[in-house]
Amino acid sequence: MTSRRRFLRDASLAVVGAAAVERTSLAALPDAASRSDASTAKPLAPPNGRPYRPVATLNGWTLPWRMRNGVKEFHLVAEPVVREIAPGMQANLWGYNGQSPGPTIEVVEGDRVRLYVTNRLPEATSVHWHGQRLPNGMDGVAGLNQRAIAPGQTYVYEFEAKRPGTFMYHPHADEMMQMAMGLMGFWVTHPKDPSFMPVDRDYVFLINAYAIDPGTRTPRVNEMTDFNLWTWNSRAFPGIDPLVARQGDRVRIRIGNLTMTNHPIHLHGHEFKVTGTDGGWVPPTAQWPEVTTDVAVGQMRAIEFDATEPGDWALHCHKSHHTMNPMGHDVPTMLGVNQREIAKKITRIIPDYMAMGETGASMNGMEMPIPENTLPMMTGTGPYGPIEMGGMFTTLKVRQDLPRDSYRDPGWYRAPRGTVASPWQGSTSALPSTHRPPASAGKTGVKS
C-alpha cells in the first residue's frame, strides 16, 4: 500500500530522475538509438564481440549496442509512439525507441548484457526478458522481482545471455494494458558457435493484435477478445514487407506470439520443420515436418526450410479472420438476398448507396471511401487482380537471381509460360464429366 509520504517521495524522485536522465546520467549511458521508419532495416552486422549472422526483423530493426568493458550495453526507452500499421493508417501506440514493437536485441550465447530502461510513459513499467535464464531480481515482474520503473526513471538490468535461442521482452507492470498498446520486442541469442544450425536468412517477427475502432487511432486497451487488427510487428497487410530469399537459401523464420490467442502460421509451397521452441533448439530427430505450425499464446517458434521453389508464396495465419482488416462483426449475412428492387428505394434516400454482399463479401477490386485512418477489410492487388487479404498476411518471395545479401522486394514473380492457372478455352464436352451421387446416396452416406 502506498502511503502519502511514500507517494510524495516517489513523486519527487521521479521529477529529479527525469531531469537527471536527460542531463547527467544519460550522458554516461549508451545512446538510446531511435527509429521511426516502419520498413525492414538491413540486418545489423555485429561491429564487435563474437561473430554471428544477424537476423532481419520484419518491418523493424536491431538495436545497436555499446561494448563497455566486455559488457554489451543497450538502452531501451519506453515511450508513446505513432506506428503506421499499413499505409493510410496510423496508431497511437506505446513502444521502445520510437517503434512498436521495440528494436530486436541480438546478443551471443555467453554475452554479458546490461540493459538501461528509461521510462517515458505516463505510468510505471518494467521489462520482463521472456524465456531467459537470469537472476530472479532481473526477471522484471514489477512488485515481485523489482520495484516498478516510475515515469522518468531509468533502471538497469544486467545478466548473462546463457542460452541460445529465441526470446521476447515485454512489460510486466500493468501488463495487459501496456501490451494492448504494443509495448514489446524481440530478442535473439545467437549460438556461440556460428556453424551451429546455420541459415542464410533469419527472419523474426512478433505477432500482436489491436482493437482500434474505425476512424480512431488509439487501441481500446480494455478489449479482451474482439480485436480487429491482426498484425505482425504492428503491421497489417498490405503493410507487411515480403520475406525474400534466394532460391536454395536456408531460411529460418522466428515467430513470437504476444496476442491473447493462438495463431496457426501457414507457409505455401514448402514444408518446413519446427527447429526451435520456447525452450531452445529441437533435435533434428524430433523436428516435425509441417506446412502450418500453431504458435500458442506467449510462445516462440523457429521454423526452417530450404527455399527451393521460386515464386511468390503466401505466408499467413490460417485463422481466416486474422487475414482481414477491421470488419463489422455485427453485419448480417446478405448472401442470397436479392437487393435489386430494394436498392432502388434505398438510393432514393441514400444516393451513394450500393448494394453489397448478395453474392459474397468480395468487393471485386472496387475502392470506396471508408472512415478515415481505417484500413479496408480486405485489400491488396497482385499481378492477377485483387488479393483481398488483410492482417497477418505476407509473401515469401523466392528468386533465383536475388543477390545474396539483398532483402529488397524483387517485385511480382513472373511465372513461366503455361504454369499459371487459366480459363479453359476448349469446349465443355471435352471436360471430364461431373459425377453427382444420387439424391439418396447423401443420406446413406451420412449414416455410413
Partner: protein, 544 residues
Amino acid sequence: MTSAHLSPMTAAVSTSLTRNATASRAHRRVAYTARRARRTPLVIAAIATLALSGCATFSDDGGFAPVADATQQRLGKSAVWARDDAASQALAKQRDDLLARPLDMDTAVQLTLLNHRGLQATYAELGIAEASLVQAGRLPNPRFTFQRVQGGGDVGIERTWGIDFVRVLTMPLASRVEARRFAQVQAQVTQAIVAQATLTRRAWIDAVAAQERVQILEQTSLATQAASELADGMARAGNFSAMRRTQENLVYADTAARLARAREQASAAREQLARQMGLWGQQLSFTLPQRLPALPATRPASADAEALAIRERADVRAARAALDATASDLGLTRVTRFVNVLDTAYRDNSATGSASERGYEISLEVPLFDWGSTRIAGAEARYRQSIDHLADTAVAARADVRTRRAQTLAAWDIAEHYRTTLLPMRQRVSDEWLLRYNGMLASVFDLLTDAREQRDTVLGYIDATSDYWLADAAFRESLGGGMPESSLSRSPTEATAPVASPASTAPSAPATPPGAPPATSPAAPPATSQPASSHQAQRHGGGA
C-alpha cells in the same frame, strides 16, 4: 370638415332662428298661415345648404383610399374593395392569376386581401360609416304634420312644420363626431386587414411546415419500408430469424401510422390556410412551395421596432384618438353648454279662434354657471385620464414589441443553430455511416436506421424554422403590421436544403461558418430605452 368651416354656419343658423322664429308652447293651438310656415324652413335650408356645400358628399372610393394606403404602407400589399360586380370580377381574375403559381407567404397575404369575404364585409363598414358621416353633414329633412280635431262643434286643426332643429344646430358637432367615427372605422378596417394578414401568415407557415413534415416522414417511411422488405428477403434466404424480421416490419408499420397522422395534420393545416384566404371550390387546388422560406441570412436587428410600434400600433393609435376626442370634447363643452338640448322643433301651432303663436323653445336643464364649471372639471379629469391611458397603452405596447422581438431573435438563433450546426453534424453522422458501410463495418440496416433517425433532427429543424416565421408574423403584428426599415433591408439567402439530403456533402467543420455574424444575446436591450413612451404620450396629448 373642421371647426373653421362650421363656426360661420352655426352663426348663420342662430341668426336666422332669432329673427324668424316665434316662441310657442307645446300643444298650444295657434292660428297660422301655411304660406309662412312653408317659407321659413326653406330659408334655413338654403342657408345651411350653402354653408355645408362640399362637405357632405360621398367619396369616390367609399373612404377606402386611406385604408388601402395604410395597407400598402404596412403590408406592402394592395387591398381592394369590390363595390360592384365589375370590381368583383376583376378581383376574381387577379385571384386566379395568383393561384396559378405556387403560393408563397406574400402571395397568400395578397390573396387574402383581395379574396377574403370577411374582409370585404369589413370594408363595407366603411361605406356604412361614410353614409353616417355624409348624413350628419346634411340638413335634416323638414317634417310636416297635420292634425284635425273635431269635437263639441269645435274644429281644431294642428299643423306642424318641423325640422330637427337641434340637429341643425349641432350639425357641425355631429359631423365632427361622425368624421371621428369614420376615421375610427378606417382604423378598425386597417387593423382587421393586419389581423387577417397575420392569420393568413400563420396558416401559411403551418401548412407549409406540415407539408414538409409529411415529406420527411415519407422519406422515413421509404427507409423503413426498404428495411422491412429487405428483412423479408433476409428471412427467406435464411439469414434473419422471425424475430429480427418482425422487428423491421414493426418499425415500418409504426412509420406508416406516423405518416398517416402527419398527412392528416397537413391536410387540416391546408384547409385552415384555404379558409384564411377565403378559398373554396376549384380554388382549393392551389399549390404551396415545397419548403418554408430560408432563414434570413443575418440576425434580424429591428432596432427601431418600438418607435414603429408607437407610431403604428392599433391600440396606441386608438388611445391617441381617444385622447384627441377628449381634447376635442373639452372644446365641445364650451359650445354645448349653451345648447344642451337633444331635440327641439320649430313649432307652428294653430287653432281656430286663437291668436297664432310662433316661436321655439330651448330648455336649459342646469343653471349655466354651476353646470359649466362642473362639466369643464370633469372633462379635464377625463382628459388627464386619457393621457394616462395612452401612456399606459404605449408602455404595454413597447413591452409587447420587445417580447415579440426577443422571441423572434431566439427563434432565429435556434433555427440558425439547426442550420449551421445540427444539420451538418447530422449529415456528418450519415456520411460516416456510409463510409462504415463501404468498409463493411456496418450493414445496410445501420444505414436505414440512420436515415430513419435523421428524421428527428430534420423535423426539429422544420419546427425551428416554422417557429421563427411564426414569431416573425407575431412580431410584425405587434408592430401594427409593418416592419422596421432595419429589418426590411435584409436579403434572404438562397434556400438551403432544410431537408438533410444525404447526397449533399456536409461542411468539414460543423461550426459557425466564417462570415456569420457574432451572435449577440437575444435579450440585448433595445437602442431606445423605455422613458420615451410617457414623453411621447404627453406631448401628443398636450398638442391636441
